[in-house]
């Protein structure tokens, strides 16, 4: 969708409404995806959708409606639905009027678009995936996984005169390679599909799978772990970004901890919409400009996600939630981290993580697709998978060393070496 076409549509929605406040937003998406299982492609998909939402408010009473039918009659129905519901709604003391251009601030430049990645090219994607399949099949292993390219367009306008537009692309391949009794995993994500080397991604997963064959058992217990970036992504960082109001009301594990040291001083967790490897969005849902925000710096909890309402109540500046998630990397290589470990466990990724106790952020989950014993600075053998039960703040407080950053999905995270990580039970595979 073109920018002017989007703004014209949004302007029409604003024009149709008699509400005191109106905010309209448009999101168009085109996704191409191939799925692989057992060395064949299975689910090969293209989907296109454009969604229009409007929120109307009369005084403090508000409601929203959403449609993907962009015809004039549908737009009228949409506005009527939102206005009717808003009129029936009791006043909401937490409702905030639309963001003004002055309040929004200046939107940062976020270069997140790749023209070729937004182009439908089923033959190219099938050919690249086919090459990856062949590489794995030739070694008598099985490839499962998926490749995708995604193009997003977002625009909004409100009755306070603010409007914004952002477009982004994302290409990805994730590969699970399976052998007789062990598997390996790798993933590559980038803004451009040409930066996703499917052959290399499959090759990395194949190498891990070859190392993972014939796993052996060791007793569960507390071990030093080296968590690769995907394991870090699944377990640690996003739990550290909690809502300020909920936290101030005593309902999150970070209550009373803002401004205090909560974990090892080497931890620096932040968001930066202008990051070149992992560009974010220039504006948050309400329209405020995004900016670099330190969530944890030097081990100190620096910020919580603070809404405009709660900021007004507490006389603070609002802090929009994370537009992306970045943890600063360290000086050491992954090989250095392994070499410095007398006895430990090397973890490729986790699976099925759930919160057991939200008030201590106790998590449980499984290891998956590559688990290895480290002895005297060397990986010595593959292991049967473990279940862990560990608290996020314990793990982040026990960080001994930090490796280099890598992009994993929508995060940019390092490998972490953590002591005394609690594996509570083992599987039988």
């Amino acid at each position: 969708m073109e920018q002017q076409q989007a703004y014209d549509l949004l302007a029409r929605v604003l024009e149709l409404s008699d509400a005191d406040h109106v905010r309209a937003s448009l999101h168009a998406n085109a996704l191409d995806s191939l799925r692989v299982a057992d060395n064949v492609t299975t689910h090969n998909v293209r989907r296109e959708n454009t969604v229009l939402s409007v929120e109307c408010a009369f005084g403090q009473s508000h409601a929203s409606a959403t449609t993907n039918d962009l015809g004039e009659a549908s737009l009228r129905q949409l506005v009527t639905a939102a206005e009717t519901a808003a009129r029936l709604s009791p006043p909401d003391p937490e409702y905030m009027p639309p963001v003004t251009p002055e309040e929004a601030g200046t939107y940062p430049a976020c270069n997140a678009w790749s023209e070729e990645t937004a182009t439908f090219a089923p033959e190219l994607m099938a050919e690249r995936v086919g090459t990856a399949i062949e590489k794995v099949r030739s070694q008598d292993y099985r490839l499962s996984g998926g490749a995708s390219q995604n193009a997003d367009f977002s625009a909004f306008a409100n009755s306070a005169g603010l409007r914004g537009m952002h477009r982004s692309t994302r290409a990805e391949m994730h590969a699970t390679v399976l052998g007789e009794d062990g598997s390996g995993w790798a993933q590559t994500t980038a803004t451009s599909r040409d930066d996703v080397d499917m052959l290399a991604t499959a090759g990395e997963a194949l190498e891990i799978a070859q190392m993972a064959q014939h796993p052996t058992e060791i007793e569960p217990g507390r071990y030093t772990v080296i968590l690769r970036p995907e394991a870090v992504r699944e377990m640690l960082p996003h739990y550290m970004i909690q809502d300020a109001k909920t936290t101030d009301e005593g309902r999150t594990f970070l209550r009373g901890l803002l401004g205090t040291k909560v974990c090892d001083e080497k931890i620096h967790l932040y968001s930066d919409p202008a990051n070149s490897i992992l560009p974010g969005s220039p504006f948050c849902k309400e329209g405020l400009a995004t900016r670099r925000v330190d969530w944890v710096k030097g081990g100190v909890l620096e910020n919580l996600d603070c809404s405009r309402y709660w900021a007004r109540e507490k006389n603070l500046a609002p802090t929009p939630g994370p537009t992306n998630l970045i943890m600063a990397g360290g000086e050491q290589s992954v090989d250095d981290l392994i070499a410095s470990t007398e006895r430990g466990i090397y973890v490729i990724r986790f699976w099925y993580i759930r919160v057991v106790d939200p008030m201590t952020c106790l998590l449980t989950g499984m290891t998956r697709d590559g688990l290895f014993l480290i002895e005297d600075g060397t990986i010595t053998r593959p292991l049967l998978q473990f279940r862990f039960n560990e608290r996020v703040l314990n793990a982040l407080s026990n960080v001994e060393a930090i490796g280099p950053q890598e992009r994993v999905g929508n995060a940019l995270l390092p490998t972490l070496k953590i002591r005394d990580f609690n594996f509570s039970s083992a599987t039988r595979f």
């Binding site: 996704l31 995806s33 692989v36 299982a37 057992d38 064949v40 492609t41 689910h43 090969n44 998909v45 293209r46 989907r47 296109e48 959708n49 454009t50 969604v51 409601a63 929203s64 409606a65 959403t66 449609t67 039918d69 639905a81 939102a82 009717t84 029936l88 709604s89 009791p90 909401d92 003391p93 937490e94 439908f120 089923p122 033959e123 099938a126 995936v129 086919g130 499962s144 996984g145 998926g146 399976l178 005593g250 309902r251 699976w351 099925y352 759930r354 919160v355 057991v356 106790d357 008030m359 106790l362 449980t364 499984m366 279940r387 039960n389 509570s424 039970s425 083992a426 599987t427 039988r428």
Partner: protein
């Protein structure tokens, strides 16, 4: 709409295309969310579009669009053919089989006494705010939140088998939470009208307001309850809790696509492999599990699946032995069956159909047994109600579950509340420890609304029914 589906099918026609289907689906969702005395959000969301699927040389191509103009539908149909054609080199056509299914034309509609979208927003808001007020009237409760969600899925389906049908499915849900905040902790307890394919009468028949005080009191009581002991204890699991344990440890493990390795990269595979069909001791002889996509009110009860297969009822586990799987038209041949069980569904017009869990039930006990009898017969155990934390490995073998509320059962009586209970087991050992099931009077379905699977991820719904059960000597307390 059927004509537009037919246009899509006609556009895909070529000698190479061996099967095609087209679905136009309109999904309307209404959500009302309240917190304490305020309405936090109301949204009315309509999503309409077409999904077109073609099978060409053993390769699938699927394309979908929200633009229902004739030109757009024809372009989307050609895209589906192009995607399938591009992937011919990436499949092994010799190993692909597609089961036959008769053509269907009869419409299906959820029995619905009161259309939930015809009930005024005023009435819904008033009920939610009254519930919040009642919950917050309990001393020690700091926060009450509640929501209602209603969905209508109107589907038109046409395929090259000659099927051409229309379905109209209504789903209704209401739920609320009570949160008590203590000096160093916070506890939340919930109550719900479990999601069901039904109209607003489902909300009206559930004692939402009547239970509010109890729910609030139980949230407060949890704050001072002793922690979960560690060791082996008997567990008495209410249906509201057991539904999730069944879903994770039985439901996913018996999806035939997982068993065949088609979900290895995300959801995973299964320990319940095909070579064990008819022999695997899944659980105790008391364990009889029946799949039923014709179950009244079931979230997977929709007349036909998105392969165009009529919904059915079949045995999954008989007297503890694995005897079946959930299947689709492209998987059933692997277990020697010529007809799919009809368990292939898409979560919207935009998604390709994939094999999903059916509704399924743990059959009730045959001899009279009440929950009170079960407690009276238990020397040292824990009673668990409601869903909590859940985690299981990718073969569905090693699991750990929490719950929403817990009571210590001592010498046949409830001896007070516990907090932060978890239990951990290997699936077959857990189900082998099943030694008592209450009778049919206490057998109730619970809906699962957020079952994630597939790539791109799809969210599906299904119902699981059970009566209260007892499991002997399960490991508890290992998480702390």
């Amino acid at each position: 709409m059927n004509n537009l589906c037919q246009l899509a099918i006609d556009t895909t026609r070529s000698p190479d295309v061996t099967y095609a289907d087209a679905r136009i689906v309109e999904i309307r969702n209404q959500v009302i969310f309240t917190e304490d005395e305020r309405v936090g959000g109301m949204d009315d969301n309509v999503s309409l579009g077409i999904g077109i699927r073609v099978l060409l040389g053993g390769a699938w191509g699927f394309a979908s669009t929200s633009d229902l103009s004739r030109e757009s539908i024809q372009r989307t149909a050609r895209n589906a053919v192009a995607i399938a054609s591009a992937n011919r080199a990436n499949v092994n056509p010799g190993s692909f089989e597609w089961a036959d299914e008769p053509a269907h034309t009869a419409p299906f509609r959820t029995p619905c006494e009161v259309d939930p979208f015809s009930v005024s927003l005023d009435e819904k808001i008033a009920l939610l705010l009254r519930i919040n007020e009642a919950v917050r009237a309990v001393k020690g409760v700091s926060k009450a939140s509640s929501h209602m969600r209603f969905r209508r899925q109107h589907r038109y389906f046409v395929n090259t088998d000659g099927s051409s049908f229309e379905t109209d499915i209504f789903t209704s849900t209401a739920r609320y939470n009570a949160t008590a905040v203590g000096e160093s902790d916070a506890k939340t307890r919930y109550f719900e009208a479990p999601s069901a394919n039904a109209g607003y009468e489902h909300i009206q028949k559930t004692p939402l307001l009547a239970e509010a005080t109890r729910v609030g009191e139980e949230a407060v009581e949890q704050l001072s309850a002793p922690p979960c002991p560690a060791g082996k204890m008997d567990l008495i699991l209410n249906p509201t809790h057991l539904a999730l344990t069944m879903h994770e440890s039985i439901g996913h493990a018996t999806e035939l696509d997982r068993v065949l390795g088609m979900e290895e990269s995300l959801a995973g595979s299964s320990f319940a492999t095909l070579d064990q069909l008819g022999t695997l001791r899944y659980g105790s002889p008391l364990m009889n599990v029946v799949c039923d996509n014709t179950m009244p009110g079931g979230l997977a009860t929709m007349g036909y699946d998105d392969d165009g297969v009529e919904c059915q009822r079949w045995d999954l586990i008989k007297q503890g032995i694995l005897v079946g799987y959930k299947t689709s038209r492209d998987t059933c041949h692997a277990m020697g069956e010529t007809r799919s069980r009809g368990s292939c569904r898409a979560d919207s017009w935009a998604s390709i159909p994939i094999l999903r869990q059916s509704n399924f039930s743990l059959e009730p006990g045959e001899t009279p047994l009440t929950p009170e009898d079960l407690i009276a017969d238990t020397k040292d155990g824990i009673l668990i109600d409601g869903m909590g934390s859940f985690s299981i490995d990718q073969k569905r073998h090693n699991f750990q579950f929490g719950g929403d509320c817990f009571w210590h059962v001592k010498d046949g009586k409830i001896a007070g509340m516990l907090q932060n209970v978890t239990y951990q087991a290997i699936t077959t050992e857990f189900w082998s420890a099943l030694d008592a099931i209450c009778d049919r009077r206490f057998w109730v379905p619970t809906g699962v609304m957020n079952c994630g699977k597939g790539d791109p991820m799809q969210i599906a719904q299904m119902s699981h029914a059970a009566a209260p059960c007892r499991f002997r000597q399960i490991d508890v307390g290992g998480a702390q």
